[in-house]
């Protein structure tokens, strides 16, 4: 046992394991959490940030069609670009997911959580030398609320009824109480721009740690350190270069030859080979994204809950995580929340592969004949393989699944959210409320399982304005159970974010919020000579 502890300790020291993972594995092995406390304290203290150097990142996800307007940012590449030059009002804590102050210094909700008052930080300068004002903040939020802005944050902003100034404070009035409002403002589209970016949405002028020095859509972006940055605990390197690399092999070649310091989206199939390179470090972070098989609860034959249960029990989740994610992920439990979310409902029994139970429910459902599953590789990496694996495991329960491969082009338009049984993925959301409201509320546009339950909707709305955390946690537990046992969602796995860097890169923060240290990778790391 002590050997195992030593092993874990060494992994932590080498920076190969994050705190969450350590605690998970250590708890499994019966190691006290207090050991972890001291261990992480020393390992953190040993790493004093170094300043200077030129950081190069090779990133997937850029296209010649990328827009410089943060409202329209969609790709992984633009996500990082925006985080480099801009700031939101609020950021989320990398390990707890709680809201932490950014351009908003502090905030205060009304008792029903429907009116929020924010104090805006003073003395912050934009890259063009102008000082950040309350007016800039208000105009930015207004721009993203406007239907015409085509903002990616429009869905988030919908719940804000009024944006106004109260003296030198910002007041947001909501259509209904929402205890999670500060977290909604962490959305990466909501970068505060001078004048709200109404005149020049493409200017890429913000308050972030790096100034944009050049930008060529789909090719490259370069940045230099913002000498007037209002924060000292970020932006350690002198300059940053993001290179668009959409080919997975090109990214790996560039990293292993030392041409870039960091790459994103390492293919689980090659990660074990990359790991052998002496100069490379794999950075995997537990995430909220999940790969799903979705059934429409209101469409035959999936309107029968016994058939849905049969299909849920036919899923061999462990094998999926091993084969499709190469072990870089966690098994899912048929509700879209995992332990990275605040107020996660603990202690819900893990659903396992059980051909007997599947056969029992299948018989009870009275269904016969094959079940048609539509899939495509764009649904998630390895989706077609996953569908075939699923076909095999279901066969053992006597359920015949017919896998139909659809063209990747137009999959999101013609298959997902249209056909009754298909594969898909979901990225995480900042809060449980957001996740459920986006895809499980009866009236949601993206209710891709057609889960329409007024009783569920009622609890969801109640939980949203509930400021008492323990009551809220209970509500989320009830909701999770409803989706798990009656919904149309089969959730075999949560995928880890798998990135890689050279050993020169230090201080990488494993952020549960989103991929690439929640987009902050370039602002948080430093280069060790």
């Amino acid at each position: 046992m002590s050997d195992y502890k030593d092993y874990l300790t060494r992994q932590v020291m080498l920076g190969k394991m994050n705190r969450r993972e350590f605690l998970g594995r250590a708890a499994a092995a019966g190691i006290l959490a207090s050991t972890a406390g001291t261990l992480f304290a020393t390992s953190a203290a040993a790493q004093e940030p170094k300043r200077g150097g030129h950081l190069k990142l090779g990133l997937e996800g850029a296209a010649a069609t990328d827009s410089k307007d943060p409202a329209k940012a969609l790709s992984q590449f633009m996500f990082v670009v925006g985080r480099n030059w801009g700031d939101m009002l609020v950021e989320s804590h990398p390990t707890t997911g709680a809201p932490v102050p950014a351009l908003a210094e502090s905030w205060e909700p009304s008792t029903d959580a429907s009116t929020w008052t924010f104090t805006i930080r003073k003395g912050v300068k934009f890259h063009d030398g102008k000082e950040l004002t309350l007016d800039d903040v208000i105009k930015t939020l207004q721009r993203h609320t406007d239907e015409k802005s085509e903002s990616g944050a429009l869905g988030v902003m919908k719940s804000i009824k009024e944006i106004k100034a109260d003296g030198d404070k910002l007041v947001l009035v909501l259509t209904e109480g929402n205890a999670d409002l500060p977290l909604l403002l962490t959305d990466y589209h909501l970068i505060i721009q001078p004048g709200g970016g109404i005149d020049k949405p493409d200017a890429m002028i913000g308050t972030g740690p790096f100034k944009v020095t050049s930008f060529e859509a789909g090719v490259r972006a370069t940045f230099e350190k913002n000498a007037d940055d209002w924060r000292t605990d970020r932006g350690y390197v002198d300059s940053v270069e993001l290179i668009a690399m959409n080919d997975a092999t090109a990214r790996i070649a560039a990293l292993s030859s030392g041409q870039v310091h960091y790459i994103n989206r390492v293919d689980p199939k090659t990660v074990n080979l990359l790991k052998k390179a002496p100069t490379v470090e794999i950075l995997n972070t537990s995430g909220r994204g999940h790969y799903v098989f979705i059934m429409h609860c209101n469409t035959a034959p999936f309107d029968n809950n016994d058939l849905r249960m049969a299909l849920k029990y036919s899923m061999d989740r462990e094998t999926m995580v091993q084969r499709i994610l190469g072990g870089y992920g966690k098994v899912g439990n048929d509700f879209p929340i995992n332990d990275t979310y605040a107020l996660f409902p603990e202690g819900i029994e893990q659903r396992a592969y059980d051909p007997d139970k599947a056969a029992f429910h299948y018989k009870k459902s009275g269904h016969s004949g094959p079940v048609l599953l539509r899939t495509s590789d764009v649904a998630f990496p390895g989706a077609v393989d996953a569908a075939v694996l699923y076909q095999e495991s279901a066969k053992k329960a006597g359920i015949e699944i017919e896998v139909k491969r659809e063209p990747g082009d137009g999959y999101w338009t013609n298959v997902w959210n249209v056909q009754p049984f298909s594969t898909s993925y979901w990225g995480g959301r900042p809060t449980q409320d957001q996740m459920y409201s986006t895809a499980y509320l009866s009236t949601a546009d993206w209710n891709d399982t057609r889960f329409k339950r007024p009783d569920f909707d009622k609890i969801l709305l109640e939980a949203r304005s509930e400021l008492d955390e323990s009551k809220r946690k209970d509500m989320y537990r009830t909701m999770a159970m409803m989706v798990r046992d009656e919904g149309g969602l089969i959730l075999p796995m949560f995928n880890d974010f798998v990135n890689a860097s050279t050993k020169q890169v230090k201080g990488y923060v494993h952020d549960i919020g989103n991929d690439m240290s929640n987009g902050y990778v370039a602002t948080r790391v430093w280069l060790d000579a």
């Binding site: 090779g58 296209a63 010649a64 069609t65 990328d66 827009s67 410089k68 969609l74 239907e147 015409k148 085509e150 990616g152 429009l154 869905g155 493409d202 050049s214 060529e216 859509a217 789909g218 090719v219 490259r220 290179i243 668009a244 690399m245 959409n246 080919d247 092999t249 090109a250 070649a253 560039a254 292993s256 030859s257 030392g258 041409q259 063209p407 082009d409 137009g410 999101w412 338009t413 013609n414 997902w416 898909s424 546009d445 993206w446």
Partner: protein, 373 residues
């Protein structure tokens, strides 16, 4: 009879061609519908201005005719690209927003771009701009298409130019060398190596080069990304690996065509005569055989040059090179119609132009082709 045969004979000038061979003029005039004799203004030759022009300057007329056809072809291509994109599932609004599309957002974009109008109307308005040289703005990035394309096209041409600069002389030279040492060791080595190179898919050749020269030995620059602030020598060093890949991919085709065409001519009687009168082997190839073998070789070179400009998207992706191919693929993915149209037209124009150039060069090299039967 054999040595001064019509194949190697001096090229007759255009002016005399008409006067000394009235029969050929008659032949070339056959497809024309209006009766030439009915025109009283010109008793001697008759016919319209175009007929007279064809008669007096067959080469110029041919070029003009090809140019006209090219314009028509470009028009047809633009229509086909437009139709093709229309036929793809999903339009710009839905594909651009992807999974995150809400009906309201889709509606906003459609209205904004006029996607709710019928496709004929949209095509005509696009064509109206395009003939005036205005390709519009990209739907996705809102940048001017012309401006973006000029940069990307410049990159593509830069890469293609250097690849051609290396590969064309190399291919022709190796082809001639192979003929000279036909069926001996150098010929066999050249053949095996170039065939091996062409048999490997281009991305694999690329990956192999990256693995050895960038990762293992670290001598080559990778990725091959080029950008504005780069100096000329930096650019050259950046494109070294992609150029090497492209050369390996196109070399064998051109080399083997050169070899086959020259060998074909070498078996003819006038070459035998040249041999008999004591000329050296290389001189026979260079002076007598090569000019007659030039037409098929030019055609193959033109096709490969066209490929170097428009067909290298895989190499661009592997080497992270910002060329036209990647630009067009990005645009097709989101159905960014103005960009796709402009790229498609430019690609088509390159193909058409290079093929036309090959035809014309072949005709210049071989006067018999000037008067089609």
């Amino acid at each position: 009879m054999m040595e001064s045969g019509p194949l190697t004979g001096p090229v007759p000038t255009d002016g005399t061609a008409g006067a000394t061979h009235p029969r050929s003029a008659e032949l070339s005039g056959v497809p024309a519908k209006p009766n030439p004799a009915a025109n009283p203004s010109n008793g001697e030759i008759g016919g319209t201005f175009w007929r007279r022009f064809t008669f007096r300057r067959p080469l110029a007329a041919l070029i003009l005719q090809r140019l006209g056809l090219s314009v028509g072809l470009l028009f047809a291509v633009s229509l086909m690209i437009f139709g093709g994109i229309e036929a793809l599932p999903g339009d710009f609004a839905t594909t651009y927003l992807g999974q995150s599309a809400t009906p309201q957002a889709v509606e906003n974009i459609r209205k904004d771009l006029g996607l709710d109008r019928p496709w004929t109307e949209r095509y005509v308005s696009w064509l109206g701009g395009a003939v005036q040289g205005d390709f519009g703005t990209s739907w996705a990035s809102k940048n001017s298409v012309g401006e973006q394309i000029s940069k990307r096209l410049g990159n593509s041409l830069f890469l293609a130019f250097f690849a051609a600069l290396v590969s064309v002389p190399l291919a022709v030279g190796l082809g001639m060398l192979a003929v000279q040492f036909r069926n001996r060791l150098p010929d066999k080595i050249i053949n095996v190596v170039s065939l091996a190179a062409i048999s490997l898919p281009e991305f694999f050749v690329g990956y192999l080069l990256i693995m050895f020269f960038a990762v293992k030995y670290g001598v080559a620059t990778f990725p091959a990304t080029v950008y504005d602030s780069m100096s000329f020598t930096e650019r050259l060093s950046a494109i070294a690996l992609p150029v090497a890949t492209l050369v390996l991919v196109v070399l064998a085709h051109m080399m083997r065509m050169t070899r086959a065409a020259i060998l074909n001519v070498m078996s003819s009687a006038y070459v035998e005569t040249a041999e008999l009168k004591g000329l050296g082997m290389f001189r026979i190839i260079a002076r007598h055989a090569a000019p007659n073998a030039v037409a098929p070789v030019i055609n193959v070179i033109a096709l490969n040059l066209a490929y170097l400009v428009v067909g290298v998207v895989v190499v661009e992706v592997v080497f992270v090179y910002p060329g036209m191919g990647q630009y067009m693929v990005d645009a097709v993915t989101v159905r960014d119609m103005p960009v796709v149209q402009a790229c498609g037209l430019i690609f088509a124009a390159f193909y058409i132009f290079l093929n036309m150039a090959a035809d014309i060069l072949a005709i210049i090299a071989n006067p018999r082709l000037r008067h089609p039967r």
